[in-house]
């Protein structure tokens, strides 16, 4: 018995996958994916570990860089009642993790036309009256893999402060874990997105330089240059690309000017 156990550790019987390459001498650890035990190499992220175990992500995986919000995971450590939350592409596996992916949560999303609803808090209150079901239990904030103060922005909206809500929710990646935990059934992340849209559309001042640039484009100022490019042969385009002037990587802002100024 003892011998078998030892042998297992030397050449572990692991599930195979085509993405992760097991480094020489790497130790494996047990994790439970949807209740079933797998031995996976330590140091992998949850997503890599699941692929190592043979799962293929058709949905529920996106950027793999911790920013798209497609791969929220809920997990618990054996012997502990506490739930933990993370992104599968960012969280490293640990021994005796019980894992479940929540790729989608059926949260209510209101229909609206941003140009018609107006910029007052009442517009948000009317589209998402359920925010007033919040009892400040703070489970949303505890579930957020981006450490967003979710209770803070929902409170700000109840207080009519759209700007505060937009700023507090800026790091939201729309993974939906907040909504999955809400006892008031509030779709926090959709409400926050609306708040940021209202903030951008009605509250933030318009950038003057953007207006000027849009006007220049609409006046046809750049059309000639584009026509010129469109008529070029592939060889000419390649030559131009290779010979293009390029701002040095660490040039101080505003210190560099191209020698060719015809297109400025």
């Amino acid at each position: 018995m003892c011998e078998t156990e030892q042998k297992k550790q030397v050449t572990p019987r692991v599930a195979t996958g085509d993405r992760a390459i097991l480094p020489e001498g790497a130790k494996t650890i047990p994790v439970y994916i949807m209740g079933k035990k797998y031995e996976v190499p330590e140091t992998l992220t949850i997503m890599k570990a699941m692929e190592f175990a043979g799962f293929h992500f058709l949905r529920g995986a996106g950027c793999r860089g911790g920013i798209c919000g497609a791969c929220p995971t809920v997990y618990r450590m054996a012997g502990d009642y506490k739930l933990h939350f993370g992104l599968a592409c960012q969280t490293v596996v640990a021994a005796d993790m019980y894992l479940a992916q929540i790729p989608f949560f059926p949260a209510n999303r209101a229909d609206y036309s941003i140009d018609e609803i107006g910029g007052l808090p009442e517009a948000i209150h009317a589209l998402y009256p359920e925010i007033f079901r919040c009892v400040a239990c703070n489970q949303c904030t505890k579930a957020c893999p981006m450490d967003v103060d979710v209770l803070g922005y929902i409170s700000a909206l109840k207080q009519g402060n759209i700007e505060k809500a937009a700023k507090l929710s800026f790091d939201c990646i729309q993974c939906g874990l907040c909504a999955s935990r809400c006892l008031g059934e509030i779709p926090q992340y959709h409400v926050a997105q609306l708040a940021r849209r209202v903030y951008g559309r009605y509250i933030l001042p318009n950038a003057e330089h953007l207006k000027a640039r849009t006007a220049a484009i609409e006046s046809g100022y750049y059309d000639k240059m584009l026509d010129e490019l469109e008529k070029m042969s592939k060889e000419e385009l390649e030559k131009r690309y290779v010979e293009r002037e390029r701002e040095p990587d660490f040039a101080e802002v505003g210190s560099w000017k191209p020698e060719e100024t015809r297109y400025l």
């Binding site: 009892v135 409170s155 207080q159």
Partner: protein, 294 residues
């Protein structure tokens, strides 16, 4: 003097006229008002269900915010917020089992044992400013204003958290006396305004509110003052509709007590946001020549 202040959601939206006048008045009286950080809804209404601790989490979280800022007192203003915060505080002080359950549930927060004192604005005025000092700061005495202090339900009930015993209205009355107004005691000062019943009655047909207005008018009250946004909605904002429906015989303009305090302290009337009150409220003050514009 610096105080920790809890405004409440309604005071930041529909009842800005209660909040802004209150803060400006305290500042005029030399008090630095510090709004607590990261506050959330007070809980809106104290939950009377026995096994319903989750509804005590919101008020307790606010008390923890105050404690985190090093406060020993939290001043608040809206009758509903005051009631909800004060009752949750009593529970945390006196019920060790519930206190323990809540503290364990809120494991991301520091433990709380009810040691913040929840103070209503009126009590603060009396205890920390004093009527004599207030009197000396009055720039526009509210001479000839026959004011009725309307307490409604939640400032005095239950008695453990009441700002003063039932049947007593000294705090608001003394404030108005200090401001130079003529206080008229009337028999509906602690009658219910109809509260959330307004949601199920047709516009202007909230009979409880009509009783308050009619009683006040009959007993010589010219204007009503309240510290509750729901009372103000039922008595003030609905008043025109009550009149249209023939429910009330005569108008009695309504105010938040802080608006009249700011007026008497000679603050810019813009700060009082009378546009959020019924039109007749502003008109009465203009007739009496109380208003100062910057």
């Amino acid at each position: 003097m610096k105080i920790s202040y809890y405004p409440g959601c309604t005071l930041k939206t529909k009842a800005k006229n209660l909040d802004i006048a209150a803060v400006a008045s305290l500042e005029a009286l030399g008090v630095e008002v510090e709004e607590i950080e990261r506050w959330n809804c007070c809980g809106a209404v104290h939950s009377l269900t026995a096994d319903d601790l989750i509804h005590q989490v919101a008020p307790v979280r606010n008390l923890i915010r105050a404690k985190e800022m090093g406060a020993d007192k939290l001043v608040t203003l809206c009758s509903m917020c005051y009631n909800t915060l004060a009752r949750a505080n009593e529970m945390m002080k006196n019920d060790p089992v519930k206190r323990d359950t809540i503290n364990r549930f809120m494991d991301e927060e520091i433990d709380y044992n009810g040691d913040i004192e929840v103070v209503h604005y009126l009590s603060f005025l009396k205890e920390e400013i004093g009527w004599e000092k207030l009197k000396s700061q009055v720039k526009v005495p509210l001479t000839d204003l026959k004011i009725g202090s309307y307490y409604g339900c939640t400032l005095q009930r239950p008695t453990e958290v009441g700002i003063e015993p039932l049947g007593h209205f000294e705090l608001m009355n003394d404030m108005f006396t200090s401001l130079g107004a003529e206080v008229v005691e009337f028999s509906a000062a602690a009658k219910c305004c109809g509260s959330y019943q307004v949601l199920s009655s047709l516009p202007g047909e909230n009979n409880a509110a009509a009783v308050v207005i009619n009683t006040a008018a009959k007993e010589g009250v010219e204007a009503l003052a309240t510290s509750c946004p729901l009372c103000e909605y039922n008595l003030g904002k609905q008043q025109q509709q009550m009149q249209d429906k023939g429910k009330i015989e005569q108008n009695v303009p309504t105010y938040y007590f802080t608006q009249l305090l700011a007026v008497a302290l000679g603050l810019d009337s813009q700060l009082c946001h009378f546009e959020l009150n019924d039109k007749k409220s502003l008109a009465l003050l203009e007739d009496k020549n109380y208003l100062v514009a910057a």
